[in-house]
Symmetry: C2
């Protein structure tokens, strides 16, 4: 029908979960709260996710990880060079913090820290997402002329600076940390590319 909801119940549950997980974490978010936010009944959750909260968390992490990975790829493709792409990405992160009153940041890091030692399934999901981002960044570096090990170390540092910037900016409710880490990330890219070897 034409009046059928545009977004499926399943997608609404995943979207609402991503929103809540990144604001208050995995353990701090109840299923009732997710379903209320998604305007979905309890039965639907276990229909789509028989594995319960863990399966939902796994899918949310991987979906969000892919989304942000693609976002970076889009920005990097539009940028004239590696350093500029990184700069634009950090600027966008700072703007997103302002737009959402410092609530919506990376949904992976929040969950990653709390599940790293308590839930192997979700820990693996966060590890896979981070590894995907690092691999993508490594490719950019290699394309820019770096050796693979150097490109990888640089990519790791950029991801760490983004995540660290989120932690500090959300805690301080200020974009100062994100701007400082962005500047260091850009400088690191330029310096690495300028190095001999």
């Amino acid at each position: 029908m034409a009046t059928k909801e545009r977004v499926s119940t399943r997608d609404r549950i995943v979207y609402a979960s991503a929103e809540l997980f990144r604001r208050q974490g995995y353990a701090g978010t109840g299923l009732k709260q997710i379903l209320a936010a998604a305007d979905a009944p309890f039965g639907s959750l276990y229909h789509f996710f028989p594995g319960g909260k863990e399966q939902l968390g796994d899918e949310v992490l991987r979906t969000a990880g892919e989304f942000f990975g693609r976002l970076y790829e889009t920005i990097a493709d539009d940028a004239p060079d590696y350093a500029t792409g990184v700069a634009v990405f950090f600027d966008g992160a700072a703007q997103a913090l302002i737009d959402t009153d410092y609530a919506d940041a990376c949904p992976i890091a929040t969950v990653a820290l709390e599940v790293a030692s308590t839930n192997e399934t979700l820990r693996q999901a966060t590890a896979d997402v981070f590894e995907g981002w690092i691999a993508a960044g490594t490719e950019r570096g290699v394309e820019a002329g770096l050796s693979a090990p150097r490109a990888r170390a640089l990519a790791i540092a950029i991801v760490a600076l983004i995540e660290g910037g989120f932690v500090l900016s959300r805690a301080a409710r200020s974009t100062e940390p994100m701007k400082a880490t962005g500047a260091v990330a850009v400088a690191a890219v330029r310096a690495t590319l300028a190095e001999p070897g």
Copy 2:
């Protein structure tokens, strides 16, 4: 009496809480679990912390923040220069991850991300701790000859690289990220000090 316990009940509760919070987060840690780990009765918790879990969390964050701040100061004082102190600190962080099977990392970041948008008291505690670290790092930079704004931006980046390194290393169960972020932090210190102005 001579057989009196060396560590007070209050301190055992704070210590056990710090241990559990950094492993599984604030929301993911129950009071019963804390008291079991601290070998303390329920009544003692509310005797020492009438404000309940929130007051306990506030004290744990500030105590742990001060502890790690002092740890850095000790290392930096023993090091011949700024860059070396940073290098030694990152090496220590990597070793701590190995020693604790990637469980014990910074107790502030885990809690910071989950409370930033949900608990103003604890958010402020994490902000104060980070600001203290950044101020201490800024002082080191100024002593090394940097202007205050430059020293501050560098200090922020170093803290972000540590926290980001913890996130990635715990997720991947590997010290590779911590080593990569440490190298970038040291390079950033050297480059900033070498810059004119």
